[in-house]
Symmetry: C2
Subunit: 488 residues, 2 copies
């Protein structure tokens, strides 16, 4: 499929004109449309699916915001902009974008206010347990590695995941429902089942300006003109196997691509075909979703050498990224008591590799050096008894000697466990979403936000849940505002 | 600096015309020029420096070739195409390019014959010691991890580094001297101190053809026309700090960029500005050049947890890539006897972190969990006595208990040791060097080879010395031949 642009001179008929054309009606596109409309622009949104939502609607939408949001203050957390900034720079380093991270840290509290002003509900409460997502209507939860080593030693932790006030894992759908209503309330023209195919430029060559879009809708190709700008909010590329094979082939084996079917990278490719630069294309989120039940955090991960490799109280995505670098097999070893309701509650669904009434019995069932595993567990148990994990600094509440009956779960990618992943690379953009060319010049008339752009979250080992929805809505707003203000 | 192309319509005067224009006179450019000339083309080479050489001239040029080369057979190695292919696919996986690797494996013996036909001398001999490079005039040496775990279990090893018959570390200069003479013998027009600035296209937009080049020489900008093609052999981008920061920022801290000063990525950027796709841009070679003296291989690397993390008999680049992923500090612990002439012979120049008449004494001087280090060494010593490294499978000849007086070298990046690195990302090309666009279409008239392209070597942890010079000369030849055969 070719995403090569069309030149204005070759456009025979325009099917419509607006100030701002938005491609994609997920979290980023919705926020871009709202802000562009509020900036006085006439806006059209083109969505390939039959309804709004994108990958945001599929997510838990634990919107990652900090620096003293209304909810953080109400619940009693004194989170600072500097701690948010420091944590996000460290966890996304060395490829972190300091300008974007600073704005995101400084703008977190305001962004939450804006969402609330649209009617997005957040309860002044906190979910205190270690959870992948809130299944209650509580708001704040820790969704990153803020309380875990090494970050906790450098930056004061605070929960920054903001779960919507809704029971069950329904944050994404509710967020999209409200944003969709807000888009409609502004009279934005929304075209569903309308797939953006190519950009239209005023001319070919250096200095070209993006002035419109070719879309396929009602079984024909149509041309729409943008007097101010086109905003690409078309998601990432995890559903494009050729792009994954080219840019992040580490995700091909034993992992599950998550997102909506239109995360095909078409926004990235359309922009590349007018000279845009894609960056960080090798990076992505890769999770080993091993809690709930949180009690499994009492266990230890060991690699093919029978060694631990991480503090098991880190965020599941951080553990997933480290896990993928190990010599396989990788096992999670946990006591039977802590195994608990694993089979009912777990997303991971890792098969059982072995069980034993004692460690020695378990070891005999596993395919790793048994004597090293015995030494690893022995040392871990000593540390656990003292309440001090001297190797990996798992916090004391999660330290518990591995004794009695034990279970080993096979967490080797490809062995049956669920390893969800999605991409974190995209178009290089300015803070306001202007798309940059391979010469680092702004491409006039072209904007991008959400996972079509490379935003705040940039590393799998530093990812925090809610940072992609947070970044998508935040960057969508900025791009929408900028596009609306751009001169015709 | 803008690398945006110029349109033919804007060219007021051509300063010259040739069938094939080659940008860069390193190993790739020289081979492209020779093959293009032998294919009947009139060729002009533009080189930014005052002489030929590029990064090839700075290298040891241990040309990585196998599958039964004349020298391999003479020395007694029965290397097969399938073993070369298998090893290169595994060591460069998952981003290995099967088509390029297959051609490189199948064409290895012929490529050596071709080099010898030009007068490049290789002796029918082998250097048997573990070495970073041959300082004798011997030919064959192991320059990758072929004999090391995990590859040795899957692919029959053979030495594939082909060192030129010259004393000292002078393979690169001699290779370039001979190639330069061969270029001159063919009447190729060579412009030195001539910097390629931009490509010329027949028109802007989809389907544009590259028809020439803008160069700065004799203090003015000149336009040269190519009737058949432009071949970009302008090196990688390790000397462009902005590009390194954007694409492979992991190399910014504590590492040393190696290459020639013109490895600025200009070839990649010129091509990107006509729609070319760059891939694998995050990857690079990163070495911990800790041998010579080879005796240090008896030691063990330990990370901030006091654990080993690799078989220390692997290639130095593989160890470097793993080392960079560890929790710091990283130490190399070695017996005083094996320390030997380290201070005189070593490229690494890692500072001494501690010494001790016993392990216990050494441990007390280091900043890692001492009890874990004691356990790690104790276990290693047991394995060494048995001649079986049950954790990381270092081969028996390198297993030796760490006893008596010991030294710890601080191999933490930034602590003073030498960590050379260069890039392995570049333009996506076909086997014949045709540059591919972001739509995966061939860009007419444009070719790339060597580190301007993304070729056979694609991963730092799988790199083998001589594979970049091998790939550059091999891919340069193919691109030169293809360009010469391209229709005008």
């Amino acid at each position: 499929m070719s995403f090569e642009p069309v030149c204005e001179a070759d456009v025979t008929q325009w099917s419509g004109t607006a100030d701002v054309l938005v491609v994609g009606f997920g979290g980023a596109g919705a926020c871009a449309a709202i802000e562009a409309a509020d900036g006085g622009a006439a806006v059209v949104v083109f969505e390939a699916a039959s309804a709004s939502g994108g990958s945001t609607a599929l997510s838990s939408a634990e919107i990652y915001l900090g620096g003293g949001t209304r909810i953080q203050r109400a619940v009693g957390y004194d989170d600072s902009v500097d701690d948010v900034y420091g944590y996000l720079m460290a966890s996304n380093g060395p490829q972190a974008d300091a300008v974007k991270v600073r704005a995101y840290a400084e703008g977190g509290a305001e962004h939450l206010e804006w969402l609330m002003s649209l009617g997005v509900p957040f309860k002044e409460s906190e979910l205190k347990e270690r959870a992948m997502m809130a299944l209650t209507d509580d708001c704040l939860l820790y969704t990153g590695s803020e309380k875990a080593w090494p970050y906790v030693d450098e930056f004061k932790p605070a929960p920054r995941g903001h779960n919507l006030e809704v029971e069950g894992d329904n944050g994404g759908p509710l967020l999209i429902k409200i944003l969709t209503e807000q888009v409609a309330a502004r009279g934005v023209d929304v075209h569903f089942e309308s797939r953006a195919l190519r950009l239209v430029v005023d001319r070919f060559g250096p200095g070209a300006r993006v002035i419109g879009l070719v879309v396929r809708e009602d079984m024909e190709e149509r041309y729409y003109r943008a007097t101010k700008g086109v905003v690409l909010c078309a998601g990432g590329f995890i559903m494009n196997e050729a792009m994954v094979a080219q840019y992040c082939p580490q995700f091909l084996s034993g992992k599950t691509f998550i997102g909506n079917p239109n995360d095909t990278g078409s926004g990235i490719q359309m922009a590349q075909c007018v000279g845009a630069k894609a960056i960080n294309m090798h990076e992505g989120f890769l999770s080993v979703p091993y809690y709930p039940p949180a009690s499994l955090t009492h266990g230890i991960f060991v690699n093919g050498q029978g060694q631990r490799f991480i503090n098991e109280d880190a965020y599941h995505g951080r553990i997933g990224s480290y896990l993928a670098q190990q010599t396989y097999p990788v096992y999670l070893i946990v006591g039977v008591d802590d195994y608990g309701n694993y089979e009912q509650e777990s997303w991971l669904q890792a098969p059982i590799a072995g069980t034993g009434e004692s460690l020695e019995e378990l070891v005999s069932e596993l395919s790793i050096p048994g004597d090293q595993l015995l030494a690893t567990v022995s040392r871990y148990n000593e540390d656990a008894r003292r309440g001090d994990d001297t190797l990996f600094h798992k916090r004391a509440p999660w330290l518990k000697p591995l004794e009695g009956a034990l279970v080993a779960l096979d967490c080797t990618p490809g062995a049956g466990a669920f390893f969800p992943c999605f991409t974190l690379g995209g178009l290089d953009t300015t803070l306001d979403g202007c798309v940059l060319s391979c010469s680092d010049a702004v491409i006039s008339g072209l904007y991008a936000a959400g996972r079509t752009a490379c935003g705040v979250p940039r590393r799998g080992d530093g990812y925090a849940s809610g940072s992609s929805v947070g970044d998508a809505t935040f960057s969508g707003r900025r791009a929408g505002r900028a596009a609306a203000g751009a001169s015709a």
